[in-house]
Amino acid sequence: MSGDSESGFVRDRRRVLAALTALLGLAGLASSRLIAGRKTEASSDDLARTLMDALQLDEHSMARMCTARGRSQLVSHMSGCGEQIAQLQQRIDAASLKRVVRQQIEIDYSRGAIVDVDGWQLAATEALVIAICARVA
């Protein structure tokens, strides 16, 4: 396997996954309106801008997602997000976002923001991540 082809493949895949992870973590944050007061890197200016961008997407998708019955329907609700993902992917602090996503998932669970996806009782943020990953897989 040549170095060029490998790096190209890996780079593309990483960019997509990083964008997805970031977007979805931020989307979860935005949905719960819990950004203010949380002592994480999510308070940085770059992240704040990204959160504002993510907010609209999140409200739209979350509203549909909560009515979804089953994974396939959930995934179909997520269509049309590709452009926004591409716009957001340049403004990501991956380590910080990963931590925030994890925290947000815990917050979702503790507050009962749980959705049923084919029986899986998932945090809303977690479901969003899985839905988009499933769509691009």
Binding site: R71, I105, E106, S110, G112, I114, G119, Q121, L122, A134
Partner: protein, 504 residues
Amino acid sequence: MALELASTSLSVVLLESGGFDVESDTQELATGEIAGLPTFPLVVSRLRCFGGATGHWGGRCRPLDASDFAERPWVPHSGWPITLNDVLPHYVRAQEICQLGAYDYDPASWDLRDSPPLRLPGGAVGTRLLQISPPTHFGVRYRTNVVKAPNVRLTLHSNVVQIVPEANGQSIKAVEVATLAGKRFTVRARSYVLATGGVENPRLLLASDRVIRGGIGNQHDLVGRYFADHINLDTAGVFPLETATSYDLYQQDSRARTRHKLDGTGRPGALLGMLDLSPHVQQQSRTLNFMAELSRSDWSGYFLHSDRFDFEMDSGQSALRSKLAEAREVLSTLWRNLSDAVARPFQSTSEGGNVFYRVITEQEQAPNPESRVTLGATKDRLGIPRARLAWRLTELDRHTIKVAVKEIAGAMGTTGMARVKALWDLDATDWPVHMQSSWHHCGTTRMHADPKRGVVDADCRVHGISNLYIAGSSVFPINGSANPTLTIVALSLRLAQHLKQTLQ
């Protein structure tokens, strides 16, 4: 009750349908008809012999919660006319009779360091303890005590076929007894106690209709209604995300360990942990009382609901229709789970990669007048109409399961210890074919202070009949989530005390 009355000056006659062991011809008298939800055949779930159903008892014990006795506005027909405090001293005594440890069900009191309760944040989902009896088979353990009691006359193979009231219908004159060998005789007493279980008690009352139309104690059409059992259902799977958490306290083999109290007092005991919903959540989410096992399983159990009871359920339908329904559900379950790509990430990181824990409910049933025992179309060898059981559930039962699954998922998800998956469609209109009953027949001669709302009063005396009492879980107006045996024994002791006070 016979044990408790053995030390008194009262003369007791104990009429036992069977012998000391199960005999097929006597056991056949327990055969009945099934009309509602599938449940175990009545001939399987009961035993007509000395010691009764303790002969196949699993040994799980726990008192009812104080909240079980209270009237809950969101649970129609709930509430007892007595409180936990009225039963408490009898629970303590029942604890000894059932060969249990100290009367203490607080997990904080016991040394559980080797298998601690799950640490679940928020307080919505907690751990409650059951104590496990050896189990005590009453017919074996206490046979000698009863047989040698000078004031107790035990008569085996004696089936009460008719309870005969006085002409005014206000007291019982006699009971008519028949044997399978063809003998018939009558027994007269000052007081009578009916103690034949949650199906046979209403059956006998309803069948005793020679003097009182509709049966004894049935002037308000309540006898046989409000039949309840504990819903035994593979509800969800808990998929661990890490291996540090121990689920040992919740496994069946936990009962093999002898545990001691931390303060060193009282008898040691065998314990089993169960998940429950806090009273606050029950009130806030308007649910029933809920308890569930966390049973270790592997992926074959996930797909097929395997290793459940060995007995076939009786749906009242033809064998072909039952098998087709079962096959349809198995295929549906397989399809639902095989298509589940979401499961894979969890499977790869779970304990051993192939282990999960099934959440098996043992939850309170909402009192339901349409869930009932009536008399069937056929009769047994002694001419008594067979029991016909129509077990029926309500939306409140389903709502409780949905809330419980979500709360368990929330508690476990918050810690990151596991993810939870419902093993059936919680929004489905039909109950899953794999749902089972628990052989805990309750409610059919319910206790209530108002004769229009209950068959027996707070002393377990049949309303309107001065000398007829009922012992057993048929008097439970609501069954709580705890296994019923300890409460049955405690209420029997309470009734024995009442009889001693009133008859001596």
